[in-house]
């Protein structure tokens, strides 16, 4: 089905303008360029695809250095999705996100891939800056790999757009990270709530959930004190 298109100096492919619906449930403020496959079909995209292996190796190094010394050794080892879920989620996620930057359209799937990695990083007892620095580092790695080529004027513009897309990715990563941390504290609160819910319910101290009645049947209950 034909979709409305607009032109973008950066991409020569069809894009959906401003639909803003590809960030899952999060309020996403990522620049529009992120949403299109930032280097799709461009000269820059073709060059980066050639350098993909080197870039991904460096990018993986960049995320692994976030872990305390020695902790990342296992994550670098090739394993399947179930024997090494952490390493596998990170390495396959990075590759897929990179592919997403080079392809079009750059869709919600990338949010999901980013979520997989950030969700892991958010419970590694790392500072937020340590957890998310890997997204920023992609810009440096790409410039390192481009070397002198980045001086080309056409590439330079495309590179600026790509970096803008990576900035958008970073913002999404912060959204996800914050949601993960909030979730952790919700889980702690939920556990405490579950631990007390039944007793409070028995003691008739709280209203029901799921349509539960507010008072027990009969007068069987002998405790009324909050425990």
């Amino acid at each position: 089905m034909a979709r409305p298109t607009n032109t973008n100096a950066f991409s020569d492919s069809a894009v959906v303008p401003g639909n803003g619906n590809n960030c899952g449930q999060s309020a996403c403020h990522a620049p529009e360029a992120q949403k299109e496959g930032a280097a799709a079909g461009t000269a820059l995209g073709r060059i980066l695809r050639d350098k993909k292996k080197a870039i991904l190796t460096k990018w993986l190094d960049a995320i692994m250095v976030s872990f305390p010394s020695g902790n990342s050794t296992h994550f670098r080892i090739k394993g399947d999705q179930f024997t090494n879920p952490t390493g596998s989620t990170i390495s396959s996620g990075l590759e897929a996100i990179f592919e997403g930057l080079l392809s079009s359209p750059f869709k919600a799937k990338n949010e999901e891939l980013l979520d997989g990695i950030v969700r892991i990083m958010a419970v590694q007892d790392l500072a937020p800056s340590q957890s998310l620095s890997f997204v920023f580092s992609l810009k440096r790695i790409i410039r390192e790999e481009l070397g002198a080529e980045q001086a080309d004027r056409q590439l330079s513009q495309q590179l600026t757009d790509l970096e803008s897309a990576i900035d958008g990715l970073t913002l999404s990563a912060f959204d996800i990270f914050m949601k993960c941390r909030e979730r952790i504290y919700e889980i702690k609160a939920n556990e405490a709530r579950r631990a007390n819910f039944r007793l409070l319910q028995m003691a008739d101290r709280i209203d029901s959930v799921n349509g539960r009645r507010t008072a027990p049947k009969g007068n069987k209950l002998t405790i009324k004190e909050e425990r």
């Binding site: 902790n71 080892i77 500072a127 937020p128 800056s129 340590q130 889980i187 556990e191 039944r198």
Partner: protein, 538 residues
């Protein structure tokens, strides 16, 4: 204590891909927030007559140890090396092949090398070599031995409370070295110095005082069960009146107290009640033997024995013929492997025979205690239950093999048989994450606290990752299991990693499917949630 906001981008960009210059012995432990549990309170240690009872915090520099703590630790080690051949063997025979290294869920989820089972054991082996072997005494470091210093003690403590004794590593060890037993001994040694964690010591003190971890007193237990009966009446229209502490009952039923206390375990307890009522089983609950679980087992052999004693004592007092046990994990490791030698022989009871099917449970000939999954599987096999699995049609169910029932007692097929009989939509997780190779919930052995939540999430990731796989592939929205700790902690784990998957016990789903004599048309499940397509007719 590591600050959460310490790193600058400049620091982070300094990438060093070389291995650390220091060996593991020279890498001091760093106590990280959200990874360790709070220290035991003095009042709970005192209630249990455990040594060095005082309030203390693992985060403090001073652990308030007795002056001669090294001697106490080493004497304790010597005693156990003499008493337990397995311990000496496990200290001696490891060849560090590494087969276990990547099998620990904490290592897989967090990557800390000292969570590799081989290295976690090596933390203690280095002490063993230094003080109990000639080569270690003579050659020290060259023989991979080291002195027992306060830093070494702290390192040992930090990592031995990051092991859930799940025994997955032992499945892969060519020598069969059981890291769980090494952790058990390690924790016993810490307890000689008053170094338990509060999440264990508190429940143990409760259990010693009133018979169960949660601290439920008799009237609370009866009113909890009556409350479940109210809900069952709402669902089925049938009033159940179970008995408590009834002398002369044929069967004593012992469940984990968690099932009386917190959702979703409570729905499992409702399932037990419905099943027993439908069978007309001559059984009784006990408000004294009100806990099958045993956090004493995570403290010391003696404490485990002490807390377990009430089960046979109550069976004897009530004069029952045999004991039926509910859905709990480590409870069954204790009952299956320790209870008989701790507090047996249970020669005052009879070999369990199902009064419904006549099946004689030869496997429980000695302990006289039968697992409810075996009991129910037998009932279904003999066609004694009327079931409508379509009541669980809104659930796409997977099965989590809880570590202890699967690895410690081989209970693999009975619960699956029950599950497949009460559900139409069942999907297994991948082969290397189930049965004997099942992944731990990451919160067992008393580590289901709140303060170590990040450790729990990391350790549970391998399990959650497999659940995510079946959710994506088959739309799984319910994971069932037979462990009370699992039911509590997997709920939290799913909330983080796979939010749309719920947790249930096996007998909650049995209760849903069970067609009871004289019941009204079911419109609600045991959670009092409307069954899809079976809305109440007003």
């Amino acid at each position: 204590m590591a600050s959460k906001f310490s790193a600058t981008p400049e620091e982070l960009s300094k990438i060093d891909h070389n291995p650390p210059k220091k060996g593991w012995m020279d890498t001091p432990v760093e106590f990280k927030e959200h990874t360790f549990c709070w220290g035991a309170k003095g009042k709970n240690l005192a209630a249990l007559e455990l040594p060095n009872a005082r309030d203390w915090s693992p985060a403090d520099e001073d652990w308030k140890l007795p002056e001669n703590w090294q001697k106490i630790f080493l004497d304790g080690m010597k005693e156990r090396l003499g008493k337990y051949r397995s311990f000496r063997l496990f200290m001696d025979i490891c060849v560090r092949c590494g087969a276990c290294a990547d099998k620990c869920h904490f290592f897989i989820g967090g990557g800390d090398p000292k969570n590799m089972p081989v290295l976690r054991a090596e933390l203690l082996r280095s002490i063993y070599r230094r003080y109990f072997t000639v080569s270690g005494r003579m050659f020290g470091r060259a023989a991979r031995a080291r002195d027992l210093t306060i830093d070494v003690l702290k390192e040992l403590w930090y990592y031995y409370y990051q092991c859930t004794e799940c025994r997955r590593c032992s499945v892969f060890c060519p020598y069969g070295i059981d890291q769980a037993e090494i952790t058990i001994i390690g924790r016993e040694l810490f307890n000689l110095l008053g170094l338990n964690i509060e999440w264990i010591a508190g429940p143990v003190a409760n259990c010693y005082r009133v018979g169960n971890h949660v601290g439920l007193e008799p009237h609370t237990i009866t009113s909890s069960v009556e409350f479940f009966c109210d809900d069952i009446e709402d669902v089925t229209g049938i009033r159940i009146n179970p008995t408590f502490n009834r002398k002369g009952a044929e069967i004593l039923f012992v469940a984990p107290s968690g099932d009386l206390f917190a959702d979703p375990g409570t729905y499992t307890a409702m399932g037990y009640l419905m099943l027993f009522h439908e069978l007309g089983l001559d059984y009784t609950w006990s408000t004294y033997a009100s806990e099958g679980g045993n956090f004493g087992f995570f403290t010391s052999n003696e404490m485990g024995k002490r807390l377990n004693a009430k089960i046979y004592a109550e069976a004897k007092r009530l004069g029952v013929k045999w004991i039926l046990g509910g859905e709990c994990g480590h409870m069954w490791r204790v009952l299956h492997q320790y209870m008989d030698t701790w507090n047996g022989p249970a020669d005052f009871m009879e070999v369990p025979v199902s009064p419904i099917t006549g099946t004689r449970f030869e496997n429980a000939k000695s302990t006289k205690m039968v697992h409810i999954a075996e009991f129910t599987a037998d009932l279904i096999k003999h066609g004694k239950l009327k079931l409508d699995p379509s009541r669980n049609n809104h659930l796409n169910v997977t099965w989590h093999d809880s570590c202890n029932p699967s690895r410690a007692m081989g209970l693999l097929d009975e619960p699956r048989y029950v599950l497949k009989s009460v559900c139409n939509n069942f999907y297994e997780m991948p082969e290397n994450t189930i049965r004997e190779k099942t992944f731990c919930c990451g919160s067992g052995t008393g580590l289901n606290a709140s303060e170590n939540i990040e450790l729990r999430m990391r350790g549970g990731f391998p399990r959650a990752n497999a659940v995510k796989h079946v959710r994506d592939a088959h739309g799984v929205n319910m994971m069932s299991c037979i462990c009370a700790i699992d039911r509590a902690t997997l709920k939290a784990l799913m909330e983080y990693w796979v939010p749309d998957v719920e947790i249930s016990g096996l007998h909650e789903l049995v209760g849903n499917a069970l067609i009871m004599k004289g019941e009204k048309e079911r419109t609600l499940d045991l959670r009092l949630v409307p069954l899809p397509g079976k809305a109440a007719k007003e």
